[in-house]
Symmetry: C2
Subunit: 298 residues, 2 copies
Amino acid sequence: MSLNKQQIAQWFEVLQKQICETLEKNDGKGHFEEDIWQREGGGGGKTRILQNGNVLAKGGVNFSAVFGELPDYVAESLKVKGKEFFATGVSIVMHPSNPFVPIIHMNVRYFELENGTKWFGGGIDLTPHYVIPQQATWFHAQLKRVCDQASPDYYPRFKKWADEYFFIKHRQEMRGIGGIFFDRLQATETLSIADQWNFVQNVGLAFAPIYTQLMEQNRSKNYTEQHIEWQKLRRGRYVEFNLVYDKGTKFGLDTNGRTESILMSLPPEAQWSYLHTPAENSEEAQTLGFLKKGIDWV
Amino acid sequence: MSLNKQQIAQWFEVLQKQICETLEKNDGKGHFEEDIWQREGGGGGKTRILQNGNVLAKGGVNFSAVFGELPDYVAESLKVKGKEFFATGVSIVMHPSNPFVPIIHMNVRYFELENGTKWFGGGIDLTPHYVIPQQATWFHAQLKRVCDQASPDYYPRFKKWADEYFFIKHRQEMRGIGGIFFDRLQATETLSIADQWNFVQNVGLAFAPIYTQLMEQNRSKNYTEQHIEWQKLRRGRYVEFNLVYDKGTKFGLDTNGRTESILMSLPPEAQWSYLHTPAENSEEAQTLGFLKKGIDWV
């Protein structure tokens, strides 16, 4: 099978639609508004945003297929040669209102250059405001299952990659409990580029069942003002990660992407408090204890 | 006069103390808590934070004097050679609770390298949630007065520099109404390094009278929930600027500075709303109209 970039983009667009439908159904109130946009340098996308749902406070499911000339400094930072690029993908971030429902992020993407270089990237990771160990284990087991279908070394490699990637260096803590992250998946001796595409599709398809289950399990939990305050502080860390470290955000802003679509990842509200330190043995302190690299959840 | 880095640092430390005293007196309730910290690579500082005052919701006045080895990539981005650096300065950000009191930022700093390279940098800029033209003009006139004492070309140059610097590229809007910004002030044909130091001291001394007057003029104004929501959205933009573009923040995080001191600039609360657009002719829309480069306020 030879890969066709238009077919990949089309598949991603259908994925966006299906995920939005499933999330709406599970939320029960929120509705995704759609904005179709074009990129000056070439291409465009569809941004779908839900605000003020029952479970989801603010979430976005973004599809884009863009092309054009790669700015020199972007080519340099990607360490590639080749002027004309094509990039397509689906990006999701969901910020729930109940602090016991975790924030989730998913991305599947394809990138190619005129010179024939092509690769896939993506991942799914979870950022619970309160880490619930059983759910963390279950979440990682779902990802491992998807990875194992492609290759037995994918889960350990991509889990470790997520641990490295979703790390807030200046806080010396992880954004959440990680998940899987991969980039520049190309054909190898044992896996063709079509195999990689198959894997990436499975990652995309895994998102909705995983997140709707986590919504279901936690949406009715009671919470207090204190839980909400902690949620806002954790959302503040989410903002720090996305604006300081996230490569997708940086790539988007650097290539004059559509700002409102790129920054849909930001939470509805965030809070910063100087030197905030949770009380010893509190739920919040326990969560901080889980925001470390290298925890073997499975 | 030969400049002595220790004396510069000492003067900055006294400036910090005086500014905190003046702000506390004017706030009438808030108190600056002090944290003294040391930097692993060399040096340290004093961070003073006030939270939940009458006028000031969250503000920081940071003094630091740090030294050590400059990481290669920092030297590269500063385009300097020389391994050992010394840097000292005072940084201030004040986030008021009343949306009609503007956010203010001030910085005065000195940097030197073992090879004899030395310079001053700094500035003052204002970020009103609601731009009040008379106050914007008055604010710029104060800065012009300070600049004119040093050189007639300082205000136009440094005002323009602030317009360029405090620009949120991905939003195509300024963070606020600018002010003055300068960097790498070294000895010139007409101004010695001692003259530059004198100018920088005058900038530092101008801060408290300017901001206390703006606090006084606006602290008692009535506001609604809608004003507060807009304030949070503007604070969101402040976060975007500081985490994506601000060089001081980047330098601090890159040199393993003290995170809580660097990020004291972040607001107590911020908000993001997808594609938020104020109603035509509203106070909010008028303010957006003023967040442009090149407005001649004086």
